[in-house]
Every structure is written in structure tokens, then in C-alpha cells.
Amino acid sequence: MSRETGVDRYTLNYSNIDVDLVRTMQPAGKLYYTVLVILAAIAGWGGYAWSVQLRLGLGVAGITWPVGWGFYITTFVFWVGIAHSGTLISAVLFLFRVRWRSPIYRSAEAVTVFAVMTAGLFPLIHMGRPWVAYWLMPYPQMGGLFPNFRSPLVWDVFAISTYLTVSVLFFVTGMAPDLAIVRDRTVGWRNKVYGLLAQGWQGTDRQWKHYTAAYVFLAALATPLVISVHSIVSWDFAMSIIPGWHTAIFPPYFVAGAIHSGLAMVLLIVIPMRRIFNLQPYITGEHLANMSKMLIFTGLILGYAYGIEFFIAWYSNNVYERSLFFYRAFGDYAWALWLLVACNVLGPSLFVFRRVRHSIPAIVAISVFVNVGMFFERFVIIVTSLGHSFDPFTWKVYVPRWPEVSILAGSFAWFFLLFLIFAKLFPVVSMWEVKEQLPLPRKEDTHA
């Protein structure tokens, strides 16, 4: 087994890669459809909750004055964050020639696309008048009025839609050679559909030449997005003047947090997937351990950010900041703060022990904790700052109500539903890239 690529080079070869992965796309069994229906039901319940909210007004949710943003924006930031690890793995690690990325990047990139698609719903859900959301689009509206490009929310519109576009391009582009493989290994209507999707990919030298060039540039363009998208999302908060939001540390802090939660989500997706599809030779314990190690790193960055936030609040001697951070630590939501510190910093630091990062149950547990922790990190940032800002008269405790909880649950179901459908219809591991990671078949090998 190679520590470098992670891929098990003694069992994998050009032939069985195709066989293994095309097998994952065989007609599904009962279990698959059961899970699918359950997820669809939960997502549908979330959709129902949204429809109630659309019909009656945002008042059915728990968000209120002065906590104008609650679960919805928390969930939005959460899903945008989840998206980040995909791009990190697929683009950044590609540029850095990290070879172990190949077998996991397809799932990671799918996580990105589906997470952004999920996240994109939340600004609509939280809006007072979603039916006029198109006013945020950059075109001359009534009387020649455009949206306000100074608003971080318009940056968000640009950043998120660009992120979705680039991720989808990267995802679809990266999949073209694999779709050709699938086309070539199937018959009947599947052959036709995948043929259409493969866009006539053959693998000629000309195709490969421009394809690899475009791949590098897409990766190069996606790389700054890893940093910028979550920086811009963090500016939704940092550009305001509310204590606890107005801080320069937010962009790196949010980016690290995004990758932290994203990696954990990829782990949570990949571990059951490799088991169900028997992909252990592709996604090995080494891959999981490598990602676990990254979690230690991002967890430490977060720990530092948490610490420095409190330190600066104290050191600034600013009455508003001090009061807010005291409130975060000991106020109504103190449980959430301590929970998130435990989940995001203490949990992943256990991965320093080799035993932990090679134990599947431990990885799953810690990944779940990280996702819970990251949700509450955003929750604490958003809710405590709004509920405890400048004028003490306005201090208020926010409690979510059933539509928010339902839509949150629905968003998870929606995300996993998309992934489940994806996993059955498309190769979850990039075949051509795994092949690329294998040594090229040489003359000696074939004669041996």
C-alpha cells in the first residue's frame, strides 16, 4: 500500500476500476429506495413548512426582532461551509499535486455542488418577499435602478452563483471521460443517455491536451474561490457594525471553519459509501486518516480563532464587545458555545492519536461532532450578536420554531437525497484519475 497515493496499487488495475465503478451504478435494491423515500419525505416536510411560511408570513418562524437572522442564515452559512472542502480537495489539492485526492475528489465535488444548491435555497427561505428575489439580479429595474453593489448580500449573490457555476463546470468537466467509460460499458438506453452526457468524449490526444489545460485553469480559478466565497459570506457579518460580527478575523476564521465542516461532511459521506459500494481499495483507511489529519489542522485554526476573539474582546476594553463575549460564554447560549468548542477543537484534536484516525467509528463520531459544532458556531455568532447588541433594551433570546427546525431537517434530507441520486447515476470515484494515479502499463508488466 502506498502512503503517497493511498490507492491500493496491488489490487487495482485499469480493468477492474471500470468494472468496480460501473457496478456501483447497477439498478438499486430495496434498501436504496427505502432510504430514498424516507429522505424525500423529510425533504417534503421541510418543503411543506416553507409553504406554510410563504402562505402565512415569516412570522411562523421563530426569528424575530432584533434577531432578524436565525436558523435560516445559520443553515445557509453551514451549507456554504460544507461546500468548501469539495473545492479544496478537487482544486487546491490538485494544484498542489496531492495524489491521494483522486479517489475522493468526485464525492467531495458532488458535496460541493449539492451543498451550494442547498445553501442557495436559504436566502430565499429567509426573505420577507421571496417572490421579488429577482431584484437582486444585476439588471436595470424600475426606473433604471440596479441592485446595490455595496451590499454584502449582493456580493453573496455574485459569489454564491459564481461558486455554483464554477463548481458545476469543474464537476461536469471532470466527469466527461468517466461518462465515456460508462457509456462504453453499458447498453441500451443507458448507453444512449451516458453517450449524450459524455458529449462524444473519446480520449484522443487532442481532447486530452485541451482538457488537461482547461482542468488546470479551472482548478486555478476555483482555488481563490475557496478563500473568497466564504470570506464574502463572512463579510455579511464582518461588514456590519454589530459587536461580535464586526471583526477582521472573520474571513480566515470562516474559511477554516468551512473546510473543517466540509471535510467532516465528506468523511461522513465517503465512509458509508465505500462500504456499500465496496470501494475500500479505492478509498482506503489512509485517505480517511489523511483527511482526519486535516481536521486537526483546521480545528486548531478554529481554536486559535475562538481564543483570539475572546482575547480581543477583553483586550479592546470595548464595552460592547466585552459584554457580548461575556454573554456568549455565560449567557443564555453558553451551552452552545461550550458545545461548539468541544466539538470543533477538542474532538478533532483526538486525531493526533494514530489509533483514533484509523478507527472508522471514531472518525464517524468526531465528524458528526464537527458538523454539530460548526452549525452551532454559526448559530452562536449570528444569534448572540443580534440578540445582545448595542442597546440593552433590545436584548432578546431567540428560540427557533417548528418551521425552522423542519426546514433545517429538510435541507439535510434534500442534500443527502441529491447525493444518493448522484451516487446511483454517476461514478462516485473518478475512474480516469485513479487510473492516472496507477503506474502506466508498461511492456514488462504485460509480459509478466
Binding site: L58, G59, H126, G128, N148, D236, F390, P392, F393
Partner: protein, 924 residues
């Protein structure tokens, strides 16, 4: 002006104006209805103003009703009226919600054979009433005629009626009747009436448990007087066991039993003064120690009384003992205030009222616009009088009545009222009746068998005031709002009767808890409870909405194991109630205070079942000493029931936490020198933008602001601010554009001397507004005139602006606002009714700015300072809010901005608000 025309046009009016913002149906057909004959003085789209008299309490303030297209939209104070001079309290503002109250009686009701009230035609009901009266007339004094305070034509008419009905049983019932004050004045000065209090002339104003800034006799007028005095340097001291809102505005709170404190001051003032030897003898036992007055405080107060024009005021609901009022009379006497600041030149309309009534031996009781059975429920005994109730609303009294006749509200009726002798205040209908109701006067004329209309009756009565041509006098009086006569000075002298016996109760010490009730600022004695605005406006001190509560001292609360919001049981010999507790540091241990006015059972959807009726704890029988209901001073037992008080407190936190939002400073001898004002340069990395030709700004004088909330009600009325109800208010979703923020102090803890800081928080119209750049669609933007614009129809509802507002003055429409018909008739046609999902906030009443500019343009003149008054500024009885153009250096606002008390809220954020505050002074 021709009244007939005005009456006719509304009949033919059909242009509705209220619809949501969502209207995309500009092409949909709709009906336009012109006038058949246009009313002369009316131009569609222009407001007309009709002057009248406010009848929401006995004060009798002058009002003017703004009418657009035949509908009253708003009520404002009449600037020419001698009682209030332009300001109007929140209850007066809410009169329109009485007019358009969805629960108003729409048809007469007659008790049927089954014992239930059934709708009847006017003819049937009037016939039934006439028959009833005809039967009862047979026996002398078998018919009672009950009204509230009613000096004026109605009084005359009542007398005529009773004469026709062979009776002399005239009852003027007011639950809050100041019996003790009147009894004390009778004993001390042989004048059984209320004094005329000239606050404006006093420089030391001592308030003994009374609430002249809230409900006491004539609050809007007194507020004006006290403000005037304060601007001239007056100091105000509050004596009492519970710090009321009036007390909160005082410079000093001397906690204790008011009568005892007054007597202690009398004792110190009369020491060695031969003129007051008798009084000194009565006062001898009242040593300062006994009253709980520190000797040095006593000495300081005595010095102050001697050096200044003095005025002490007693009584009200919260201190309703005769002894208290006598003590204050003696203090006024020895301080030389009688015949100077405390005068008896004019009789009050309240001089003839009583807080108890006797209906025994009556066969029929006619109740006109009063609700005695809310405070004093009818005895269940059979054989009581048959009751004919004339009322605009269902009330506890109409529920017990046999015949109910729906009458006009004051804004639809003719009438006059004489709150003080010689002040004849006129009432005229500002619009045609909303429902099939009748003018009470017309009904009474009919029942008494007289002919003619009530308007003519009033005109006939007014003939005696006219010096020359009556028609022009009448026209003039309608235009002015009434007719005011000068009152000759009338001096009174102390009778010299021995009052020591009456003062004796002040020496008694009782054990256990003392019950103090007080008239609610919003609902007074209960008559405002069906106005949703008044329910939703938080009580200034407790910040509670839609409820009643029992205030307990923190030490008592600890002993009882009670927290704010817990349910407690109050028990007196008269009854028991369960209500939420409110732990209030401004109440002395051993005292429990409950506001009056809630707990209605038959007063419409906004009042029924809200809170509890504190009158049930108080004996509705004459107190032997004062002759009226003893609202406060009785014993009460209190115990905790459970944690489910269901109290909704709007305020999120009681302390300012060093944020300097509501600031005050100590002034006067011995005050620390004011800190050197740091002039922070207004820094910006960007060049300033121009403000032309105007730059609007507002200044709020916290030294004048009393916290009465008139501005809030005015804002509700002017700006179509919806009411959300208790449940949504509990979630923080009340929509008021102005908040009265109340903080306890001083400093970071609640410690002695306890103080209350109040400030108004409304959109600060920042120059560097944090809300504006974050809006993705320019719904929030800045005008060239310095306004922080909010365009509702552009808003997409991200709520980012509200998040980023340091003052949190923006309100979001969580649901589609609803106004139960016909409350929607009140909506101001000049302001968009917001749809759900959009943000709204104070606009500095931009519609008034536009209107004033328009008017100036039509009249081809420049805008003058004072042309524009936003609704809040206009309504303020204390004139604490000033609005104007700071580009004009001569404007009042520009001058106030140079005042050294000026500060801006959260100034250090560099938001550069257009709203300035003037620090409150605490004079020592």
C-alpha cells in the same frame, strides 16, 4: 360653513383608500364615485380640520380632528385650547380607535322574554325605554340619571329629563373622583372642589402620591405647566411609597407614606412660627424620623420650600386617604402656596362627581356613557332598577342593562363640556356616524318628550355666552373649539377647624402588605382598554403590554419566592385575584401596587379577558373619612401560585450597562461639575455629501419628556402602524416606530437612590447610516435632505438593515397587518399600508414634510421653522420634541443642537444621527 352640507357629503362618498401594497392590478376596473353636490370646503386629497373636545377622560382637552374624504384619520391637540394648548395624551390620540372600534354597538338591544339582550330597531328600543320611564315616572325619585363628569349642555339636559321624569336622582359617577382631595379642601378651606394648580408658576413642585403627569385631573395641561416650570428652573420632588411615572420624572424621590412626609415638612416649617401655632401642634408627633425622612433631607426641603414659589399636590388613586390630602393642604398653607399656585378660581367639572353611587330605591336607571358596573358590579339582588344604557360600546353596564341604546362617539356628536368653570369647550361631529347610532343628546331629548335636535339645544344654551351676533359668535366658537371666559380671582382661607382627629390615621402603623392601586396611564379607569393601541403601548415603567400586574419590592419578592412573571394571588376582604408579579425596585417593601383598568368582561375583543380588574380588591363603598372609594391603603395578602403569569415585558434588560443611552446629569448647588464635553470631530475617510436645501433633524429634550407615550400613540395613528397582539408582542414583534426605553439606575446596579431613566428611541436618521449600504436593493437609502429613506415597495425583506441598526428601530412585517373593520377607516391615506415581508421604520413623517413643502410652494413662500411637526412632536404635551431644518441657523433645532446638554445616542459609532437628545437634569 354649512353643517348640512358636511353631513350630506359623506353619505355619497365612496372612495375607499385602504388596500395592501401588493396591488399589481393597476389595470383592473374599480369604481370612482364623485359627489352629487360637492361640499363647499372640501377638496379631495386635502385634509380638513374640525375642532372639538376630547372626552376620553374628564380633563376636557381641546382637540382637532383631521378629516380626509369625510373620514377622521387622526386627532391632535387644539393649540388654542386653554386646557392642553396643543398637546394630547395617548388616550386622546386613541379616540379614533373608539370611533372605529370594531366592537361598537351597532343596533339597540332590548332584553327579551328569555332574559337575553336581543337586537331591536330604534323605534322598538325607544318605545320600550319610553314605556319603562313612563311607568317609573309615577313614583317620585324613582328614575336615576347617571353620567360621568358632565358639566355643560348634557348636565342641563339631564336636569330637564329628570324634571320631566319627576325625579331628582342625578348621579355623576367617576371611579376616579378625587374624593379625598375635595373632602380635604372642604374641611380646610370650605371649598369642596378641586384646586386650580398653577404648576407653571411654581419653582418647587412637591408631589405626594399624585400623578399629574399621567392621569390626575388634567394630565396634558399639567404636563405643559410642569414643563414650563422646569424650563424656568423648577425642581420636582416625589413623595410616596411607589415611584410612579410622575415620580420617575421628579428630581428626587422621598420614599415613604406621603401624608406623614407632608406632615413632617409641615412640622419643620412651622417650628417656632407663631402664625401656625395650631398647625404646629397637630404636626408635633410627625417628627422627620417617624416619617422616615432624614433630618438633613428635611432641612434641605424646608430651605427649598421657603426660598421658592411652592406647590404641593396630593391625592389621586395611589394616595386616596383624606389624611394625606389634609396634610398636603396644610403644607401648601404653611408654605404660602394657597391662593398663589394653588387656587380656587374655577370650579372643576369633577367637583360634583362621586366614586360611589347609590341606586337603591330606583325603578329605572338611565346610564349615559358611563360604565359603573365595571368598577362596582351590580349586586345580584333581584328587584334592582331597570337599566337603560346609552353607550357606544358593549360594556359591563350594557351587559346588565335592560335596554341598550347605541350612541355616537364624541367625534360624531354634538356637545359641549366645561372642564373648569368658564371654559366652554365645544364638540362637533367631525364626520357622519360610522354606524346606525344616534347622538345621546337627541335620544335624551326624545325620551324626555322634548322636541328638536340636540345641536339646537346646545346653540340655545350658548346664546347666553354671545355678546353680539350669535351666528358669527357660534361660527367663531366652532372654529376656535369653544369659548373661554376669564375667571375672577377668588381667595380662600383656612377654616381653622381642628383637623388633628383627621390626621390621626397617619400615625398608625399597620402590618402586612398595603395595597396600592393606581390609574393606568393607558386605560385610566378602564375606559381605554378597548383601544388596541393603548393595549399594545408598553406601560412606561414596567414595559408590560396587554396585561395587568402586581408590583412587589425585590426584598418582598425574595421573601415570597416570587420572580417577575410568576403568578401570585392577591386577597383582600373584598375579593381575590390571580395575576402576574412584577418585581419593581421602585416600590417600598410592604407595598403591593396594581394598575386599574383591565380585566374587562364585556368591552370588546381587545379588552375582554386581558389582565384583571383591580377594582375587585377594593371596597366599592364610601370610605368614612373621604366619602369616596378608598382605592389605596387597604391591607392585602399575597402569595405565589406558580410560574405561569404569562407576562409580556417588552424591555430586554433593565440596566444601561454604561452605554449612555438615556443620560442625565446632576445640576444645582453641590452637583459635580459637568465633565468637559469632548467634541469628537466627525471623521470620515469619504468627503461629506451635500444636504440641500434642507437638512432635517430632531431634538428630544429628555428633561421635558415625561414618558407619557403620547408620541407613540400619535405615531401609530399617523403612520398606519399595525397592532400585533400579546402573543406576537411576546415574540418581540410589536411594530411601534417609537420605543419608550426605560432603564433602572443609577449606574450599573439598582441601588439607592433608585432612579428611572427614560428615553425615546426612534429611527435616528443617521447621516452615516449602517442600515443603508447593507440593503441589497436600495430600499434603504439617504435623501439629500438628510432623511434615511425606506421604500416599502422596494424592500425584499432580508432584514439586514435591522440587524445592522445599532438602535434596532426598524420593524419587520412578519405577517400581513390586519385592521378589523372598520378600524381600517382610520388609516392615513398619505402613508402606504405596508404589506407583509417588508421593513418599516420612522420616516420623520415624510408625508408631512412633503405636504408642508407643497403648501409652501402653492403659497409661494419659503418653508418657515415650525411649519413641519412630525406626529410625535405635534402631540407631545411637554413639547419635548423639536423638529426642523439645521441648515437654517436661526431654527429652533439648530439652536438646540448647540445646547451643552445635547448628546447623540451611541455617538462613538460615528453613525452621526440626525436625532439629538438633551440630557435630563436631576436638580439637587
Amino acid at each position: 360653513m354649512s353643517e348640512t352640507n358636511r353631513r350630506d357629503f359623506v353619505k355619497i362618498l365612496g372612495i375607499g383608500s385602504a388596500a395592501g401594497l401588493a396591488g399589481c392590478t393597476r389595470t383592473a376596473p374599480d369604481t370612482l364615485t364623485p359627489y352629487v353636490v360637492p361640499p363647499e370646503e372640501m377638496v379631495r386629497g386635502h385634509a380638513l380640520w374640525y375642532r372639538a373636545t376630547c372626552r376620553e377622560c374628564p380633563a376636557g382637552c381641546g382637540i382637532e380632528a383631521r378629516v380626509r374624504e369625510g373620514r377622521v384619520h387622526k386627532v391632535e391637540g387644539n393649540p388654542e385650547h386653554p386646557v392642553n394648548g396643543g398637546g394630547l395624551c395617548s388616550r386622546g390620540q386613541a379616540a379614533v380607535q373608539g370611533l372605529y372600534n370594531p366592537d361598537r354597538l351597532r343596533t339597540p338591544l332590548v332584553r327579551g322574554a328569555g332574559g337575553a339582550l336581543q337586537p331591536a330597531s330604534w323605534q322598538e328600543a325607544l318605545d320600550a325605554a319610553s314605556a319603562l320611564l313612563a311607568k317609573a315616572r309615577g313614583r317620585k325619585d324613582a328614575i336615576g340619571f347617571m353620567t360621568g363628569a358632565s358639566a355643560g349642555a348634557l348636565d342641563d339636559l339631564a336636569a330637564d329629563c329628570l324634571k320631566a321624569w319627576n325625579s331628582a336622582r342625578r348621579i355623576r359617577y367617576e371611579p376616579v373622583a378625587y374624593d379625598s382631595v375635595r373632602a380635604a379642601n372642604a374641611l380646610c378651606f370650605d371649598r369642596p372642589g378641586l384646586p386650580v394648580l398653577r404648576f407653571a408658576e411654581a419653582r418647587a413642585i412637591y408631589v405626594f402620591g399624585a400623578d399629574p403627569l399621567e392621569t390626575y385631573v388634567s394630565p396634558a395641561g399639567y404636563t405643559r405647566g410642569i414643563t414650563e416650570a422646569r424650563r424656568a428652573g423648577a425642581r420636582m420632588v416625589f413623595f410616596g411609597s411607589r415611584l410612579s411615572l410622575t415620580g420617575a420624572r421628579a428630581d428626587e424621590w422621598v420614599a415613604g407614606e406621603p401624608g406623614r412626609l407632608a406632615m413632617a415638612l409641615v412640622r419643620e416649617l412651622t417650628a417656632g412660627d407663631a402664625r401656625f401655632a395650631a398647625i404646629r401642634k397637630w404636626a408635633e408627633p410627625f417628627t422627620p424620623e417617624r416619617a422616615g425622612l432624614k433630618p438633613e433631607v428635611a432641612q434641605k426641603l424646608v430651605r427649598e420650600i421657603r426660598a421658592n414659589a411652592f406647590l404641593a399636590v396630593a391625592g389621586g388613586v395611589a394616595a386616596s386617604d383624606l389624611a394625606d390630602a389634609i396634610a398636603v393642604n396644610l403644607l401648601n398653607h404653611v408654605a404660602g402656596a394657597i391662593n398663589k399656585t394653588v387656587r380656587f378660581d374655577r370650579a372643576s367639572s369633577l367637583d360634583t362627581v362621586s366614586s360611589v353611587f347609590d341606586a337603591s330605591g330606583l325603578d329605572a336607571l338611565l346610564v349615559v356613557d358611563a360604565n359603573p358596573f365595571y368598577t362596582a358590579p351590580p349586586k345580584a339582588a333581584a328587584g334592582g332598577p331597570k337599566i337603560v344604557a346609552l353607550s357606544s360600546y358593549p360594556t359591563e353596564t350594557t351587559a346588565a342593562a335592560d335596554i341598550v341604546l347605541p350612541i355616537h362617539t364624541p367625534l360624531e356628536s354634538w356637545g359641549d363640556y366645561e372642564p373648569w368653570a368658564g371654559i366652554h369647550s365645544l364638540q362637533q361631529p367631525a364626520m357622519l356616524p360610522v354606524f346606525e347610532t344616534r347622538d345621546a343628546g337627541d335620544v335624551l331629548l326624545k325620551l324626555s318628550g322634548a322636541s328638536g335636535e340636540y345641536r339646537d339645544y346646545i346653540r340655545a344654551r350658548w346664546k347666553k355666552f354671545a355678546s353680539a351676533d350669535f351666528e358669527s359668535f357660534w361660527k367663531d366658537a366652532l372654529k376656535r373649539g369653544g369659548h373661554w371666559e376669564d375667571a375672577p380671582a377668588r381667595e380662600v382661607r383656612l377654616t381653622g377647624a381642628d383637623l388633628s382627629a383627621q390626621l390621626k390615621p397617619l400615625l398608625e402603623n399597620a402590618s402586612g402588605y398595603m395595597l396600592q392601586t393606581y390609574a393606568s396611564l393607558a386605560h385610566f379607569d378602564g375606559r381605554g382598554a378597548n383601544r388596541p393601541w393603548l393595549q399594545e403601548m408598553p406601560d412606561p415603567l414596567t414595559q408590560v403590554v396587554w396585561d395587568s400586574w402586581a408590583e412587589v419590592n425585590p426584598d418582598d419578592a425574595r421573601k415570597l419566592g416570587v420572580k417577575t412573571g410568576d403568578r401570585v394571588r392577591l386577597r383582600t376582604p373584598q375579593g381575590q385575584l390571580q395575576l402576574a408579579a412584577y418585581v419593581y425596585p421602585g416600590i417600598l417593601p410592604g407595598t403591593v401596587a396594581v394598575p386599574l383598568g383591565q380585566g374587562h368582561t364585556n368591552f370588546g375583543r381587545y379588552a375582554n379577558g386581558v389582565g384583571v380588574n383591580a377594582a375587585a380588591l377594593v371596597a366599592q363603598a364610601p370610605d368614612p373619612a373621604a366619602g369616596g372609594v378608598r382605592w389605596s391603603g387597604g391591607r392585602v395578602e399575597i402569595e405565589r401560585v406558580d410560574a405561569n403569569g404569562g407576562l409580556v415585558v417588552i424591555s430586554g434588560h433593565d440596566l444601561q450597562e454604561s452605554r449612555g443611552i438615556a443620560r442625565s446629569r446632576l445640576t444645582g448647588a453641590g452637583a459635580p461639575a459637568a465633565a468637559e464635553k469632548r467634541e469628537e470631530p466627525e471623521l470620515s475617510i469619504y468627503p461629506e455629501h451635500e444636504h440641500k436645501p434642507y437638512r432635517w433633524a430632531m431634538a428630544i429634550d429628555l428633561d421635558a419628556c415625561t414618558g407619557c407615550g403620547a408620541c407613540i400613540a400619535a405615531c401609530y395613528a399617523e403612520n398606519n402602524v399595525p397592532v400585533v397582539g400579546k402573543e406576537e408582542a411576546a415574540r418581540g414583534r410589536e411594530m411601534s416606530w417609537i420605543r419608550l426605553e426605560r432603564f433602572f439606575g443609577p449606574g450599573e446596579t439598582v441601588s439607592a437612590p433608585f432612579q428611572v431613566d427614560l428615553t425615546l428611541m426612534l429611527c435616528q436618521q443617521c447621516d452615516g447610516a449602517p442600515c443603508e449600504p447593507v440593503c441589497p436593493v436600495f430600499a434603504a437609502y439617504h435623501t439629500q435632505e438628510g432623511l434615511n429613506g425606506q421604500i416599502y415597495n422596494r424592500c425584499v425583506g432580508t432584514r439586514y438593515c435591522s440587524n445592522n441598526c445599532p438602535y434596532k428601530t426598524r420593524r419587520f412585517n412578519w405577517f400581513q397587518a390586519e385592521w378589523a373593520a372598520p378600524l381600517d377607516w382610520q388609516l392615513n391615506p398619505d402613508v402606504t399600508a405596508r404589506t407583509r415581508g417588508v421593513m418599516e421604520k420612522c420616516t420623520f413623517c415624510v408625508q408631512r414634510i412633503v405636504e408642508a413643502k407643497d403648501r409652501a410652494r402653492r403659497e409661494a413662500r419659503p418653508l418657515a421653522d415650525g411649519d413641519i411637526a412630525p406626529a410625535c412632536a405635534q402631540s407631545c404635551p411637554a413639547a419635548a420634541i423639536v423638529f426642523g431644518n439645521v441648515n437654517d441657523p436661526a431654527s429652533r433645532i439648530a439652536r438646540l443642537q448647540a445646547n451643552d446638554r445635547r448628546y447623540r445616542a451611541l455617538e462613538e459609532l460615528n453613525t452621526r444621527p440626525a436625532v439629538s437628545y438633551l440630557e435630563r437634569e436631576r436638580r439637587i
